[in-house]
Amino acid sequence: MIANIKENGIKIFQTSKKWVEDHINGIDIFDEHYIDKAKTNPWYTLGSLVWLFWMITIVSGCLLMAIYLPSISEAYDSIVKIQFEIPFGAITRGVHKYAADAVIIAATIRLYRMFIACDYKPNREFNIAIALITLLFGMYSGLTGYLLIWNQRAFWATKVFATFPTYVEQFYILGPTHVGINTSQILLGGSSIGQATMTRFYSFHIAFTLLALIAHELYIYKTGHKRLNISWKMASIPIAMVFITAIILPAQIGHRADPNVTPLPILSDWYFLALYQFLKYMEPVWATALTVLIPLTVIVLPFLDLGPEKRLSKRPVFLMVVIMGFLEFLIFSFLIIFNIANIHRDPPIWRMGTWLLIAIGVIWQYIVHKIDRPEKLSVAIGDFIAYVVCPLFVLYWVFPTLLNGWITLKQQIVGVGICMVPAVIGYTWHFLIRKKLKIEEEKAAA
């Protein structure tokens, strides 16, 4: 008995050690493992482009630091001065802004590429998390960056961003722990938006980039990879694009921040627009929870994609999730820009659309699974209930119920009860038949 436990323990330790080693060896930060692939497939240069645009942002940012004044009374004036009086100020600021936007665009497309081309197989699941963290770093730097202009958009976006964490208080059953409001006050550097917020955002804006830069350089030093997997001749094209955009479309300044007047419509930078629309539809607690859950889902998804299959047509759930994410980003951004959303009519429509897309994926996945591995009818029915009917019940009833504040507790309990009946029947059937088949197989083998 004890020997058995020991043996099993060593086995588990060995497998987990191998798993960790394999995954650490698979780590890829800016596509440095795809140097050969990048020569023929332009999608694999995206990691390099992220790094390149990041460097442009750092260099132009260093120049801007020489002129900019991080104080609430003078920040806006110093931006105006940079834009209109300092020679080459407008271009430097434009390059800084558009290169930062380009970081976010390239990082987003790269994340989609990793999902579609299945770059996380085998043993590279963490790369999705790394790519996502790169993107979130970019977005956070963007958010802290546009407060520094101290215009209306910056002020109100910061207010939304700082009020968000206070809803964490409502997750606790035991009562308020003040984690949310303290997080908010640490972010703001006080109990209101002011000079401390600006100082704090300015330091975070630079500190995060600096720390990430040091970490990446240490990684390069240790592994000896190249930073860019494209030639400098090729790299000059995106650099030129950023400069040309900065000259043609000077970066916006907006109006000076006024704490007493909310601008209409209130918009953030483009990459947060879909989330802003989401805030109109959702109860704030759920909006906060989902804002955290979306990135977590992206990190967990590759771990759920089992098996060696890399073709997208054989991974329909993932295809549908990718399509869903992209469609919702586009549609929500469109709705908020043109301000045509109806907060009472729309939520059931887009929620149903979301579940429908995932449902198509699940059923399609089931069909693919059946074609590849035909089994007995009884097994197929049990599987169908367990893997298709139950998830659909959960998707169509439990989540919408939980997300809708207006459905009563009694209705929720009834709904969950209705879900549980097919689930219990399905899973019992599923496991009983599996067990019966196993016994039959063992008999046949004997």
Binding site: W156, T166, Q185, G190, I266, A287
Partner: protein
Amino acid sequence: MNIETTRRNLLKGMLAVPVLGTMLAVLSPFMRFLKPTIKPLNYMQGPDLPKSLKPVTFDLSLFPNAFDVQSFNFTQINKEYTALGTQIRDIPGYAVKLPSGDFAVYSRICPHLGCVFNFVLNPEDVAKGYNFKPDGPVFACPCHLSVFDIQQEGKVVSGPAPRPPRKFVYKVENNQLVISDLESGGVA
């Protein structure tokens, strides 16, 4: 794998305990560096609350009819974690006379995500912009379309806001409306 490496790994694992402990011990000073008002190891400490500077007063003759409204700025002193230490901040507010003769005095900062909301007298205007037609004059927030009914103590009648707007403490004395304090919470 032989047992020796396991033992070595076990020792390495045991070493993680003091390292983690050190990190935890550093966490409190680090948090206090970022938020100096926290007492040592008191992670659950409540938030820093602003203090009211001076009351705002209105003459009652400014409110002859029902739904007459006055907007005002209520000054508060906020904590700030810089060398300055404090920041003075104006909170916009509305004082509305209700048909019952009472007053509705609310902070204009939306309890949802901190936008400044408006007083909308005409229900038709609300129906156009906020996807909802109220019975009477309301407070309506343009950011995320929350609508608050003034006559039902600021009840949320439409939109995502989780609670009514924050109330001012006020009293009527010597033919004057004196607004002296604000319900705490939210981000100014």
